[in-house]
Amino acid sequence: MTMSNKRTDTMPEGSRPMDKTINRRDFLKLSAVSVAVAAGTRVVTSSKASSAAPKGKHRWAMVIDQSKCVGCEYCTLACQAHNDINPDIQWNRVIEAGKIGNKPVFVPRPCMHCEKAPCVEVCPVKASYYRDDGIVMMDYDRCIGCRYCQIACPYDARSFNWEAFTGENPAVPEWGYPGIERRPRGVPEKCSFCYQTIDRGLALGLTPGVDREATPACVNICPTGARMFGDLNDPESNVSKALRDNPSYRLREDLGTEPRVYYLPAVHTEEA
């Protein structure tokens, strides 16, 4: 499914031509068709509820426990494979932030999916936009490539496609299979919380963060379980619980961007 038809859900229009054919059919065919339409409608409306959820139904967030992160960069590799990313670009970068004792501390940095995202504010064409579930999305078909979003992003989360990615992806198949199209030359790209996995999982009735089939690749691959993903609107989700029970922080909170990626600091286990 491409980005553009994600944005405009065409269920009502899609059913109209069918109504016309119904008029020309006899009663038996009509009933058969109407059953099919009803069945189709149910499938589509349930998938619609996932991709265009009423505002605030889900509020996806990621929690990264720095005390568990060992800096293996599996998350980056899984991300490269599942999102078919040019090896020159990293949506998820693992940064070494320093040492506590002899133990290095890492900051894995995906897109923060800010509640008040500077990139969405500055984009002249609304190619960066908020989904109802809080994911900051890129419409790669609309972007003009001005790179103002890169200028504005405080987290360095965006990478520009200076050239088209045409070669083989070295992370495939070892680290996974691509679930989305490659981005064209001339647009910036960034982490999308694996929206394709979330949407598909929800359509199948799964819960992102609980069921692997509905959870971002970086969370699934993490060998130490340092990453959690879930819905902040659900007080019983693993992320809500983790944030309730542990001290946490977000990157550059002073900027007021309200990131949706939370970090549990590395020290909290040593103190405990």
Binding site: E121, V122, G145, P184, G186, V187
Partner: protein, 412 residues
């Protein structure tokens, strides 16, 4: 035969033509190979082209400032200079458009900003204003284009219609003033709203961009007018008018100097991480020469003295030097501002050290940039020769007289 062909005029056009051809080749390379052949990076995504874009728009500001002066504030006698400024403005804005088309990653989608509006985006506002103002400039230059001898003979009715646009000049001046005030200052705000880059993040960016644009725009118009009057008999300037305006630029420079110095000194007030480093980068680091010598000394202080001290202002050479320096100083201001904000890298973690990066434009960026400049110079030269864009003996009344002389008489 060869000697006849090799006039300074033909040599000048050939020279510009070669530069434009080089730039055309480089431009085709950019569209073909993509931006990977530039030295732009994810760290420094805005480089030389953005500077050309910003500088062109700033130096095109003479058009709206002088048109406002002539048609709104009643300074009628400066009308011939406003005429030149309008033409310079049109050239500058088309130069900016050329630079932008090269700079964006998907040039074929340039129209998206006109269709998909994000009214929160400063860049959207700037794009809309620039497009609308370019339209205003086209209307404003119509009476000038109507001076083209060939067009007059071939389409007399069209040219008289184009000249008629002149009667709407005051309305165009109002629209132009509004649109220019918006986008000239918003170009500063484009940087000023970026909280991630503390060196830029301040409200005075808009004021500084606006003020420097007015100062630089008027200076460039006066400079090219004086220069062409020295080089060709096709250009005639009224030196009294030019000198008066040059003095006005001198006074404006005092105000600009005050704001600029205050802005630089006040940068240290907050001790925000990144902001003081930016100031150090500018005043003590790699841009120190640009800042102290090109921007402040040659761009502001020296021309301020040259233009306010009567003997040097009366002297045409020193006046020209001063006016050129002002324009160059504004370009340096745009270059330094754009790059300083990007080269000082803020850490994503609080307490981590600030790092620095560097940027040098690549050969394709320089070639295309030079070609855009050559296009501007060429267009202005042709304007001087064929459209009499620098002719201060040409007043409104005279223009109307010329109109009567056209083969097809205008029916009142």
């Amino acid at each position: 035969m060869l000697k006849k062909l090799l006039t300074p005029w033909s040599a000048w056009l050939t020279f510009l033509g070669i530069i434009m051809l080089g730039g055309l080749a480089a431009g085709i390379m950019v569209f073909w190979k993509g931006l990977s052949i530039t030295h732009l990076t994810d760290r420094v995504p805005w480089g030389l082209w953005i500077t050309i874009d910003l500088s062109s728009i700033a130096l095109g500001a003479g058009a709206f400032s002088l048109c406002a002066g002539v048609y709104l504030f009643g300074l009628k006698r400066y009308q011939p200079i406003a005429r030149t400024a309008t033409f310079v403005g049109l050239i500058c804005y088309t130069m900016a458009t050329l630079a932008l088309i090269l700079d964006i990653g998907r040039p074929e989608r340039f129209w998206h900003s006109l269709v998909y509006w994000n009214t929160h985006s400063l860049l959207w506002e700037v794009t809309m204003c620039v497009v609308l103002y370019l339209t205003v400039l086209v209307f404003e230059t119509m009476p000038i284009i109507a001076n083209l001898e060939w067009l007059r003979r071939r389409f007399p009715r069209l040219t008289s219609l184009m000249e008629h646009v002149h009667h709407y000049a005051p309305f165009l001046a109002i629209v132009g003033l509004g649109l220019s005030s918006l986008h000239q200052s918003s170009l500063g705000a484009t940087y000023g709203v970026i909280k991630a880059r503390p060196f830029w993040f301040k409200p005075e960016m808009s004021v500084l961009f606006m003020l420097s644009a007015i100062v630089g725009g008027i200076s460039l118009t006066l400079f090219v007018s004086m220069l062409s009057s020295r080089l060709t008999s096709k250009a005639r300037v009224n030196d009294v008018l030019v000198e008066r305006l040059a003095q006005f630029v001198g006074y404006l420079l005092i105000g600009y100097f005050y704001f600029r110095a205050w802005d630089a000194l006040a940068t240290t007030y907050t001790y925000d991480p990144g902001r003081t480093e930016g100031l150090h980068f500018l005043t003590k680091g790699p841009f120190a020469f640009n800042f102290w010598i090109v921007e402040m000394l040659l761009g502001v202080v020296v021309p301020m003295i040259l233009l306010l001290y009567r003997p040097t202002r009366i002297n045409r050479f020193w006046r020209m030097v001063a006016l050129l320096f002002v324009a160059v100083g504004v370009v340096a201001f745009r270059w330094d501002t754009n790059l300083t904000g990007q080269l000082v890298l803020m850490p994503i973690l609080a307490g981590q050290a600030i790092t620095y990066t560097s940027y040098q434009p690549s050969i394709v960026e320089i070639l295309t940039g030079a070609a855009i400049l050559a296009y501007g110079l060429g267009a202005f030269s042709l304007g001087v020769k064929y459209l009499r864009v620098v002719d201060h003996s040409l007043l409104e009344t005279k223009q109307e007289m010329i109109q009567v002389e056209t083969p097809e008489p205008v029916t009142a």
